[in-house]
Amino acid sequence: MSSPEADETGKDQPGSVTVAGEAEATEAPDASAIAATAAPEVMAGSLGEYARLWLRRVRSGESGALPVIAGLIVIGAYFQIREPAFLSAGNIANLMTQAGFLITFCMAQTFPLLLGEIDLSLGFNAAIGATITLWMVAIAHPFPTWLAILAGIAVCAAIAAIEGLIIVWLRIPSFVVTLAGLLGLNGVLLWLFEQTGGVGLGGVIQDHNGFINGLVSSNVSPTAGWIILIVAIALAAVFMILRDQRRRRNGLVAPPLSVTLLKLAAAAAVGVALVLVLNHNRSSGVIPLEGVPWVVPIVLVLTVLLSVLLGRTKFGRYMYAVGGNAEAARRAGINLSRIRVLAFAALGVIAGITGILYASFLGSISNNIAGGQYVLYSVAGAVIGGVSLFGGRGRITGAVLGGFVVAVIYNGVILLGLGAAGQYIWTAAVLLAAVILDALARRGATVT
C-alpha cells in the first residue's frame, strides 16, 4: 500500500525542502525556498516585490515562458542579421500563415503530453480529416462547407478517441498504440485517396472552396484588424481586473494593479506592432495585399478556448492531476479512463482543425503529407514551450510559443536558403537547448 517511490519523487521536486533526518532544523522551512516555487501572482503585494519574487523563481528553475521568449528573440535577431527581409511585412505575414498549423499541432500534442502520454499518429489523423473535408467540397455536388468541416473534425476526433479507448481498455502504452496509428493511418490515407476517384487524381485534392482556402491566407481588413485587437485587449483587461478585484474583496492575495497593467501593456504593444506591420500593403502589384491573415485571430481564439478548458474546468484540472499523480487522482474519485479518452478526443478535434488549416495553407491536401515529421515537430514545439514529456506540467500558451519557435526556424531557414538539412538541424539544436536549459535550471534548483 505504501509506496516509498511516490514519496521520493515528491522530495525531488525543484525547491523542495529536505524532510528527512537532521537536515530539518528550523521551525518553518526556509521561507525563501518556498517563495521560490509559488507563483508571484499570489504572493506579491507590490510591483517591486513581484519583480523580486519573479526573479527568485526564475533562478530556482521555474522560469516559465522566459527561455522561450528569450530564445525567440535570439533566433529572430540572428535571422534578421543574416537576411534583412526576415522582419519585412511580407515575410511576417508568411510566417503567420506557416505558424498557424504548426502551432495547432503543438496544441493538440499538449493534451496527451499533459497525461504523460503521446500521440504519434497526429499528423496522418489530421491529413485524413482534411482529405474528407476537401473531398466533400470538391465533388460534383458538394456538401455545404460547414458540414464538410464538421465531418473532417468529427472523423479526427473519432480516430483519436478510438486510440484512447484501446490505450485505456487494453492498457497498452500510448506510444505503441499511436505508433500503430502512425503506420495504419498512413495506409488509410492512401486508401482514402484511391476511393476519391477523379477528385484525388495524382494523389492531390485541390481546394477550390473559397471559405476553406481563405481561412489561413486571406486577410482581415486593416480596420477590422484594429477593432479585433482593441476588443481583445479590452476584454482581457476587464477580465483580469475584475478577477483581481473579486479576489481582494474575498481577502485573497491578487497581483498588484501595476503588474496587471504592465502585462496588458506588453500584450497591447506586441499586438499593435503586429497589426501595424501586417496592415502595410505588402503587394508589389496593383491589387493591395494588406491586413492580418485570418489564421492569427483563429489561433488566438483557439488559445483562449483551450486555456480555459485546461485551466478553468474540472476536466482540465483532472488532466493535470492524472498527469501529475494518477494514483492520487484515482483515489480522489476521478475516472482515469474517462479523462484519458476525453483527452484523446479533444486532441482529435484540434488535429481536425489543424488538418483544415494545413489544407488551407497549401490550397490542397496530398496523400504524401509528411505526417510523421509533423508529429515530431508537434512534440518538439510543445517541449520547447515547457510542456513536460512526463505529464502534469505545461500550458497551452507554452505550446503556442513553442510552435511559433518551430515556425520561425522553418521560415528563417527557407529564407536563408538552407533547405531541409538546415531546418532539421536548427530545430534539433533548439529542442536540445530548450531541454538542456530546463534540466540545468532544475538541477540548480535542487542543489541550492
Partner: protein, 299 residues
C-alpha cells in the same frame, strides 16, 4: 464537468464544521463508551491458508486518538484496509454508530465518513495546495472552476487544523516539507467530512520538527471531534498523542486500553512476544482489559 457540480458545490460549505460529539473532554453521544463511533467485532481476515487477522474486537471512539502498534507483519495494514473498505473481512463485522455495516469498496468507507491517509499521501506534486485539497470535489461557478471559493475553503480547513507554516496555499505541493504534505492530506480528509481519519505511519521519514507538526495536527483532529486511528511503529509518538493504545501481534489483538495502562517497555513486550508481564494492571499474559477485549479475541 465530470461530476455533478451542484452536489459538489454544497459540500465544502460546511467543510470546517465540527462533527457532532466534539471535544475530547466531553465526548458526545458518538464518543460515549456505549456506542463508539466504530466498533470492530471479531474481525478476521484470511488469504487462502494464511490467517492475517483473527478475532480483532476494538472500539474506536470519536474525539480520541487510538494508536495501533505492532511489528512488521502483525496485521496493522490488513486491519486498516478492512476498515477502509479495500478488503472485506472474512469473519466479524464493522459496527458504525451502533449499526453493522459492510464495506464493499473504499467508496463505501468514504461515504460513511472514513478517510484514510496512506503513507504515500496520494498528492499530486504538480498541483498547488488548494487544488490538491479539493481534488475531485472542485467548486464551480457558471460551469468553470470557482478558484476564489476553493481557495477560501482550503484556507479555512487549514486554519481549523492550525496549519500555519505554509506561506502561500497556492504553492505546488511538491515544494512542501513532509509534515506540510501530511497536513494537506489530512485537510483533504477533513474536507470530505471524515469522522474517522486513519493515518498510516504519519511520522515515518519525518524530522523532529515535522514530526511535531504532524503530532499536533493529530491532537487537533481529535479535539475537533474526529476519531483518529494512527498506525505507528514509533512508540515515542504513540505515547505522545494516543488516548488509547491497541497492540497487534501476529494478527491478534495482544492488548488494548487507555494509554495509562501501558508503558514503552510493556508495549515493546507486546509487540515482540504478544504478552507482557509489565502491564500496569499486571495481568500477565492476557490482554489488558478495558471492556473491549472479549473472549472473542481468541476466535
Amino acid at each position: 464537468m465530470v461530476t455533478n457540480g451542484s452536489e459538489d458545490g454544497t459540500r465544502p460549505a460546511d467543510a470546517g464544521r465540527v462533527p457532532s460529539g466534539s471535544g475530547s473532554a466531553s465526548p458526545g453521544p458518538a464518543g460515549n463508551g456505549d456506542t463508539p463511533l466504530l466498533r470492530l467485532e471479531n474481525i478476521g481476515k484470511s488469504f487462502g491458508p494464511v490467517q492475517a487477522l483473527s478475532g480483532i474486537t476494538l472500539d474506536i471512539p470519536a474525539g480520541k486518538v487510538t494508536a495501533l502498534a505492532g511489528d512488521n507483519g502483525a496485521g496493522k495494514s490488513t486491519l486498516i484496509k478492512c476498515i477502509a473498505g479495500i478488503w472485506q473481512p472474512t469473519t466479524g463485522q464493522l459496527v458504525w454508530r451502533g449499526k453493522p455495516e459492510h464495506l464493499h469498496s473504499p467508496r463505501d468507507a468514504t461515504n460513511l465518513g472514513i478517510a484514510t491517509v496512506y503513507q504515500d499521501l496520494a498528492l499530486a506534486d504538480n498541483l498547488d495546495i488548494v487544488q490538491n485539497i479539493l481534488l475531485g470535489h472542485e467548486l464551480t461557478r457558471f460551469g468553470l472552476l470557482d478558484e476564489i471559493n476553493m481557495e477560501l475553503t482550503a484556507k479555512k480547513t487549514l486554519a481549523d487544523l492550525r496549519v500555519t507554516t505554509v506561506r502561500s496555499i497556492r504553492q505546488p505541493v511538491g515544494s512542501l516539507s513532509g509534515g506540510q504534505r501530511q497536513a494537506v492530506a489530512v485537510a483533504k480528509a477533513v474536507l470530505l467530512d471524515a469522522e474517522l481519519v486513519i493515518m498510516d505511519e504519519p511520522t515515518a521519514a519525518l524530522g523532529v520538527t515535522q514530526t511535531e507538526l504532524v503530532l499536533s495536527l493529530i491532537e487537533r483532529l481529535a479535539s475537533l471531534g474526529h476519531a483518529v486511528l494512527v498506525v505507528s511503529h514509533n512508540l515515542t509518538d504513540v505515547f505522545r498523542v494516543a488516548d488509547r493504545i491497541a497492540v497487534l501481534y501476529l494478527g491478534r489483538l495482544a492488548a488494548v486500553g487507555p494509554k495509562a495502562e501501558f508503558d514503552t517497555a510493556s508495549v515493546v513486550d507486546l509487540m515482540t512476544t504478544g504478552a507482557s508481564a509489565r502491564l500496569h494492571n499486571g495481568d500477565g499474559s492476557e490482554p489488558a482489559a478495558s471492556g473491549n477485549v472479549s473472549s472473542g479475541a481468541e476466535g
